[in-house]
Structure formats: structure tokens, C-alpha cells
């Protein structure tokens, strides 16, 4: 069918360059119609279930996903069908095989009359919370059981007016307090379940305006809860959750200095003249921005500087401006020089051993950003807003800086990188590599995957690019299935040395252990742990497990080339595996017979594989 030509044309290829927030309702509608015709395999299969009519939210989510470069299909469970019927083996939703399910419940419809009882007596809060959780948990559990999907579960915004009016906060059974308690209990109930993510609808409705977020007309008429203007807000949040769960994250935030970290130009205003701190409005805005940037470290995001300045001036400003929240030691990497920004960005990526597609650049100069976009289109560039009051929040829209969960490794990541530079310094003191490796006193621990390591292993498989032999990146659900499968083993590897704890840094996926032929389906190792033969110690252990513990006859392995894993293209050759064949795509298959298996020397590593 011919589309009316007066609207600007939208095609799938264009979607990535579009700002999803700028799409009109009609554009979303048109875009999704075109996207649905494309035969691309869907990276995201998103199902919607609950007790409302979701349409047209799925369209908005699909459009937003496309703008973020993800292909998708969606399925909305029909309204009015009991949830137990929707989330069971053999149901249409299960056959759709979602990798994400958005679960949303309207309380009033879930438990009619319950909300009127919350102010009844001293124990009614607790009783109502328990009853609500009792009616939600089975739905979540059956969704977890019958699919491998990640469940995106929305929490409960309170009403826009309270029964007791302004006296609500004074009451022991007030509604504000009830909803706070309900949401905190909801979050806690699923905190230990890695496949449940809470979608904070409370925060979203608060930002948008609780009364503006709902469309009562549409709810009364058709059980559609949300106002049109709120759909992009939910869509954006769901896309954030989905992108983060799929490992589409940025690892390092690179900051410009002048008119970015502070107001003014260091070379002209001097270290005491640049505007950051208390005193004037622009300085306070930059103070807030610096605080927010510093907080990103707690998510495991690395901070770096790339600025055209004199290195001595920059050293001085960090020395004398102790009123700045950000200190010199918060940055894992400093590129201060007069060379083009993209050169500095490349150098930062190399130094941190990450890809340039893991970088976010915050800069005030449109010209610099334009040049970086041309030279390194994979770097996400954010321009510092002209209005100072908008600057502290300018990174909020970068999805790549969001994490589904913050692991111990994330919290200590900056320290890890600093330990690494200590290692580098120490290395310079040794003439031979072996002497250096011995001096590190590396100890590794290899354990079958458990509840404590599941999330971290998923994170590693999702984001490791260099040392990643096959790029097989199982979802959390698939990982859990592997753990349950008797013929599979997922091994997690942790490393420590005399400079510190590197945390859980490797994962091996083994399959076929109950048969004659075992397979290494993937092996990933964090780039922080490369270069000291930890991989040899791990493969020695894998060989031992397959041939001695499981009595397999042979071990099959594979190398699938990607844009980034060239450093490990010869890994199996180097560890005694025999190359069987190489196909047209460059995929190499290997076999190791039990009789040919030998351990690779790496006596500088102590292994604990109990």
C-alpha cells in the first residue's frame, strides 16, 4: 500500500539515527508497520502480560528498540484470559518464546475491594501487602518456569489523591506509607531472582506526573491504563532494561574538561578561575554534574579524560581544586594533549583494553563531536547542554551507562584498573616475563556456577569481546538450564594476585560430558586477566575434568571469528588441540583425543579447583 507522502519517510535503516523521543504517534505507527514487514531475525522477543490492554504500548517499544539498533517482535496476551492460562506450557505466549516478558498489574482489578481495606486496622497494611504479593508471585513463578525470559515486573504507583487527603501522612495506616511498603516488599521478594527486573513505574509516573500518566477515559472504556504521552516514557524504560540485560553497555565515560567538567577554560581562567563548586549558579551546576559522574563509578563505569590542554595545567587544577568532587585518582586514564580527540579516544580504548564502541564521550564542542562522529561513529557522543541547569542530568539519557545489576566486580572496577597499572610498573622491573609472572603470585579458583556467580557469569559472557572463543552469549535462563543439565558444566574462574583480587574473570561452557565426546561451547576471559596464561591453567583443568573425572574419549572445541576476537584465534592450537577444518566463515573446529592430552606448563599459577 502507498503511504501518504506528506509525512517524512521512515525506513528500518533510518531508525538507528532517529531520536525515539521525537517520534509522533503516527510516525511510530508507520515505522512499526514497516519494521514488522522486515524479515530480520528478532534480537528481542517481548511478550506483554497482566490484567490490562497493552496496545499500543508494544508499538512504542518496538519503535524505541529500533532507534536503539535492536530488532524485535512483540506479543500481547489477550485481555481477560486468566494469567494462569497465559503463562503455562503450551500457551500462545510460551510458544512465542519470549526472551523478555513485561508483567503489569492494575491493583484495583487484581484484587477488587482490597485497596479500600488498607486503612482498616493496625495489621491491615501487612495483610494487604501479603495478599497482593500472594496474587502476583504465582504469575511470576510460572513465567520463570515456562520460559527462559527475563521478567520485567512493574511496581505500583500510588493514587493521585488519598482517602484521608492531607491528613494521610499523619495516619498510621496512610496510603502513601502503604505504597512505599508494598513496593519495597515487592522489590525484596524478587531481589534474589536474577531473571526478574523491577520496572520502577513509581519513578516514571512521578517524573511524568501521576495524573498525566493515566488516561482514565481509555481505562474505563477499554482497560488501557496509560495516557498516550506516557507511552514513550515506559517504552524508553523497558528498552533500558532490555538493552542492559542483553549486555549492550558502555564501559567507559570519557570526559572533556573545559566547559564540561567545569565552566570556563583552564588555559584562560586558571585553576582557581574555572567554575565548579559553591558560589555561583554555573559553578553549582558543574559541582552537581561532577557528583553525578563520580557516582557512575559505583556502577563499574570507568572514567577517563580526553582534553586539549597543557598536561601541567591539568595536573595543577586537580592538585589545587580540592573542592571538586572528582579527583585525579577517579580517572583510570588521562589523555591531555593537543592532538585530535579521536586519537585520544583510540589511545584510551587501547590502554584499557576495551573497544572504542565501549566509550561514551561527554564534550561541549559541536565541532569536536562532529569530528569524532565521523572518525569513530561507534563512540556515543553526548553534548553538554547550553543551559547550565540541564548539565547535571545530561548523561541520564545514555542507556549504555545503565546496568541491570551491580556486581562486586563493578564496584571495585576502578581499583582493579589502578592495580593493573601497579602491575605494569612492577613488570618494568623484570627482564624476563617468567620472572614477572612468578612475582605476581597468581591464584585462580575454578568452581561450577552457583547462585552467587550466575549474574556475574552472565555479565561476562554478555560483554566480553576479545577473549571470547565462539561469541555464544546465553541468556540468564539458558545459563540456569545449563546449570540444571547433568551433561553440562558451567565453570566460573576467579583470580587473585599479590596486588589484589581480580574477582570472577572467566567462564567456560562445557557440554556433552555424559557422552564420549565433550564440547567446549564457549570460553571467555575478562581482558583484565589476559596475558599471564590463566587460560592455560583453565584449559588444563578442563582437560582434567573431561578425561579424568568424566572419562570422555575426546574434547571438541571451536573458534568462531568476530570483529574483535583475533587475539584468541590460535588459542586451541597453542594448547594441543588438533585443527579439524576451517569453514568459509573462518570458523575453526578442533578435537583433542584423550591419549593426546597434556597439560600446558604454567607453574606460576596456583589452581584451586575443588
Amino acid at each position: 500500500m502507498q503511504l501518504s507522502s506528506d509525512f517524512p519517510a521512515l525506513t528500518v535503516e533510518h531508525a538507528r539515527e532517529l531520536d525515539p523521543w521525537a517520534l509522533s504517534t503516527v510516525q511510530v505507527h508507520r515505522m512499526v508497520r514497516e519494521l514488522r514487514q522486515a524479515a530480520d531475525p528478532a534480537q528481542v522477543r517481548l511478550a506483554f502480560a497482566g490484567n490490562v490492554v497493552f496496545d499500543p504500548l508494544p508499538e512504542f517499544v518496538e519503535a524505541h528498540l529500533a532507534c536503539h539498533g535492536m530488532t524485535s517482535r512483540s506479543y500481547a496476551a489477550p485481555f481477560g484470559q486468566g494469567l494462569q492460562g497465559v503463562l503455562t506450557p503450551g500457551s500462545a505466549l510460551q510458544r512465542f518464546a519470549p526472551n523478555f516478558i513485561f508483567l503489569h498489574f492494575e491493583l484495583q482489578a487484581l484484587l477488587p475491594g482490597l485497596l479500600e481495606q488498607i486503612g482498616d486496622s493496625a495489621d491491615s497494611h501487612e495483610r494487604c501487602v501479603a495478599e497482593i504479593l500472594r496474587s502476583i508471585e504465582p504469575a511470576v513463578r510460572s513465567a520463570l518456569a515456562c520460559t527462559e525470559a527475563v521478567i520485567l515486573l512493574s511496581n505500583f504507583p500510588g493514587p493521585d489523591c488519598y482517602e484521608l487527603g492531607i491528613a494521610d501522612p499523619r495516619s498510621d495506616f496512610g496510603e502513601q506509607e502503604f505504597f512505599a511498603r508494598l513496593n519495597s516488599r515487592l522489590a525484596r521478594s524478587f531481589r534474589a531472582e536474577p531473571r526478574v527486573q523491577i520496572v520502577d513505574l513509581c519513578r516514571l509516573t512521578a517524573i511524568h506526573g501521576r495524573s498525566r500518566a493515566r488516561d482514565r477515559r481509555l481505562y474505563y472504556m477499554a482497560k488501557l491504563p496509560w495516557h498516550q504521552s506516557f507511552l514513550p516514557v515506559i517504552a524508553d524504560e523497558l528498552v533500558r532494561h532490555i538493552g542492559a540485560a542483553l549486555g549492550r553497555i558502555r564501559k567507559c565515560l570519557v570526559l572533556d574538561l573545559d566547559n564540561t567538567l567545569w565552566g570556563g577554560v583552564l588555559g584562560e581562567d586558571g585553576p582557581h578561575g574555572v567554575r565548579v563548586g559553591m558560589g555561583d549558579p554555573v559553578s553549582e551546576a558543574h559541582l552537581d554534574l561532577q557528583r553525578r559522574i563520580r557516582a557512575l563509578k559505583r556502577r563499574g563505569i570507568l572514567l577517563a579524560v580526553c582534553s586539549k590542554n597543557n598536561p601541567a595545567d591539568v595536573d595543577e587544577v586537580f592538585r589545587v581544586r580540592t573542592d571538586m568532587p572528582l579527583r585525579r585518582e577517579d580517572f583510570v586514564c588521562m589523555q591531555v594533549s593537543w592532538e585530535p580527540k579521536h586519537e585520544g579516544l583510540r589511545r584510551i580504548a587501547t590502554q584499557l583494553n576495551i573497544g572504542t564502541d565501549s566509550l561514551v564521550l561527554l564534550d561541549d564542542s559541536p565541532a569536536e563531536i562532529e569530528l569524532v562522529r565521523q572518525m569513530l561513529p561507534e563512540v556515543e557522543c553526548v553534548r553538554v547542554p547550553d543551559r547550565p541547569e540541564l548539565r547535571p542530568c545530561c548523561l541520564d539519557r545514555v542507556h549504555g551507562l545503565d546496568r541491570v545489576v551491580i556486581t562486586t566486580e563493578d564496584v571495585t572496577r576502578s581499583d582493579q584498573y589502578r592495580q593493573n597499572s601497579a602491575r605494569e610498573t612492577s613488570r618494568a622491573m623484570f627482564d624476563d616475563l617468567r620472572g614477572y609472572l612468578l612475582s605476581l603470585q597468581t591464584r585462580i579458583t575454578i568452581r561450577p556456577l552457583g547462585a552467587q556467580t550466575l549474574t556475574r557469569a552472565h555479565q561476562l559472557l554478555g560483554k566480553t569481546n576479545q577473549f571470547n572463543l565462539t561469541n555464544l552469549r546465553p541468556s540468564l535462563g539458558e545459563l540456569q538450564s545449563r546449570v540444571r543439565d547433568q551433561s553440562c558444566r558451567v565453570l566460573a574462574v576467579r583470580a587473585q594476585d599479590r596486588f589484589g583480587d581480580l574477582g570472577w574473570i572467566g567462564v567456560v561452557l562445557l557440554a556433552g560430558l555424559s557422552g564420549r565426546e565433550a564440547r567446549i561451547e564457549n570460553f571467555v576471559l575478562s581482558c583484565r586477566a589476559m596475558g599471564r596464561a590463566i587460560e592455560s591453567a583453565v584449559l588444563n583443568q578442563v582437560k582434567h575434568a573431561c578425561f579424568a573425572d568424566w572419562q570422555c574419549q575426546s574434547l571438541i572445541a571451536e573458534f568462531r571469528p568476530s570483529a574483535k576476537n583475533a587475539p584468541v584465534s590460535e588459542l586451541y592450537e597453542e594448547h594441543g588441540f588438533r585443527l579439524l577444518d576451517t569453514d568459509a566463515s573462518g570458523t575453526k573446529r578442533y578435537r583433542l583425543e584423550r591419549g593426546d592430552s597434556t597439560a600446558t606448563p604454567c607453574e606460576w599459577i596456583a589452581v584451586d579447583a575443588s
Binding site: 500500500m1 501518504s4 509525512f7 503516527v26 505507527h29 499500543p56 472504556m221 477499554a222 488501557l224 498516550q228
Partner: protein, 84 residues
Amino acid sequence: MDVQLQRVIAEVLGIPAERVHAHLRREDVTEWDSLNHLRLITAIESELGAAFTMEQIAAVSTIGDLERALGRPAEDGFSSGASR
């Protein structure tokens, strides 16, 4: 009729703009089911900055009713009783 309104209707219902005129009735357009009706209403609201009441939404059974609900009189006297 209003060109922008015509375009939004054609786009949301997925029908050629030429088909969109005041006399067109809901029962004549397969695509104009109850779900697409609400889509149409919310699309018109956000694209044209309008706001319909529940009564208006329920009463619309022709394009002409939509125009009248928007306060843009249909070009002929055809009426199906959209309540204001």
C-alpha cells in the same frame, strides 16, 4: 476536509487518503475496529492537539462525527448524531 486530519486517519487505519471523507462509516472499514478506533482517537489528539470526551469517543460512527467532535464542521449536512 482538513488535510492533516485526513492524513492521520489514513495513516492509522492504513487506508488510502482518497477513501477518507465525511460519509465514511466505521462499519465500512474493516481496519476501523474498536482497538484501532482508540488508536485513531489518541493519534488525532496528539497530532492535532485535541481532546475528546468519553461520550464523543463512543458516539463516533463516521468521519463526519470525528470532524464535528473536533469542532470542524463536516462539509455537508450528513449527521449520525455525535453528541457534544
